[in-house]
Amino acid sequence: MKIHVDVVSAEGEIYSGSASMVFVAAELGEVGIAPRHAPLLTRMRPGQVRVQQEGQDEVTFFVSGGVLEVQPHLVTVLADTVERAADIDEAEAEKAKKRAEEAMSEAHDRVDMARAQAELAEAAARLSIVQKLRSGH
């Protein structure tokens, strides 16, 4: 019996293949998943993901958290690339807001929608003229 394992992070696929057993640091402790495991959905803690294949060396990855989904024939590890915590996320959000506010206070020359559209139209016209000149050459 084999189970298919996908370990992915937002920035890339880390591992995809079959295994006889997978060990993951789940929120309530380390779990070992064999084929035909009951469907399970759990958060992961920062730790190791170990994939065992028969007759081959164990493959190990480090994840900084994420979500683990288990289906009878399928294990999906949705790994985070960064450590997540509510307060860290909150601080990041505050920073993003602050950046916008600071930038807004520096902008004195506010324009209305119509003016912005006119500016865009002008820029687009300039571009198309350049293109025409180019093709005519």
């Binding site: 949705l78 959000a93 930038a103 687009a124």
Partner: protein, 286 residues
């Protein structure tokens, strides 16, 4: 020969410009390939997380997260992805035009639009037009998801608090090297994918509660979508810059040809004049 010397100088300066645009073209070409690889690399995560959401909505159809429920649209949120730098043709302009069209579409229905921007170009353009809720700039050629989390969270919080009833992502789609298309994608509410290869009656073992887990997954899903939009926009930026710089180099070549012709003419004129002076001088002496 004074005129010819001047022309020579012009040729030299255009040649220098051409060297720069050629270099930029080559740099953009190699960065584009790398950016495309990153777009490919981001795809599996988005697919897998979509699959998990599909499973989840099937396993537990009674439970609905606010991120998955359609509600009446009173306010709209938009995340606009632009580049940090210019010299990439009409890439940003085309996108902003579409964003403005969408904004007008909603505002005609008396639905206020809230903006969050990624990239310096969008920040400086929309700042003059409306209030920006949050921004992130200077992501570089290799954006990371941790730089985006805060900005996305601002929008998600707004959605949770009812300050936005629908959330869109606006960015450029990479069609091919010559074509990049501005595109609007609905992020929230999430429409789960149908996956019918599962048995009818089953449910997960949840650790911890399903509500918390679903929250985690949906936030990551949105982040993954935005991340993918950002890396795709980098690929678009590089492709657009490559094309723009290539045509700049070609134009510089044309100008050099014209100037070279001008130079030859002037040189010829100078020689002719000298000859006729010598001949006339010789005639006068003899």
């Amino acid at each position: 020969m004074a005129g010819a010397k001047e022309v020579k100088g012009k040729i030299k300066s255009v040649e220098n410009t051409q060297k720069i645009t050629k270099a930029m073209e080559m740099v953009a070409a190699s960065k584009m390939r790398k950016a495309q690889e990153r777009v490919e690399a981001a795809r599996p995560y988005a697919e897998k997380i979509r699959r998990t959401i599909g499973h989840l909505s099937e396993a537990n159809p009674d439970f609905e997260h606010p991120f998955m429920v359609e509600r009446e649209v009173n306010r709209v949120g938009m995340i606009v992805i632009s580049t940090d730098r210019g010299l990439c043709g009409g890439l940003n302009i085309n996108l902003f035009r579409q964003v403005l069209a969408e904004m007008r579409h909603w505002e005609e229905r008396n639905v206020p639009v809230e903006l969050v921007v990624i990239g310096r170009k969008a920040a400086s353009f929309f700042r003059r037009l409306t209030d920006i809720k949050a921004e992130v700039v200077d992501l570089g050629d290799r954006p990371h998801i941790d730089d985006l989390i805060g900005t996305i969270k601002v929008m998600l919080d707004d959605y949770r608090e009812g300050n936005a009833d629908r959330l869109f992502l606006m960015g450029n789609r990479f069609v091919n090297t010559m074509t990049q298309k501005p595109e609007s994608q609905q992020l929230l509410p999430v429409q789960p994918a149908d996956d019918n290869d599962l048995p009818d009656h089953w449910d997960y073992i949840y650790e911890p509660e399903p509500a918390e887990l679903l929250e985690d997954i949906l936030v990551r899903y949105v982040e993954a979508q935005v991340y993918q939009g950002v890396v795709e926009n980098v690929a678009c930026e590089m492709a657009a810059r490559m094309v723009a710089m290539k045509s700049a180099s070609d134009n510089a070549g044309d100008i050099i040809d014209d100037l070279q012709l001008e130079y030859n003419k002037q040189r010829q004129a100078a020689i002719t004049q000298e000859l006729s002076e010598i001949v006339a001088g010789a005639a006068a002496v003899s």
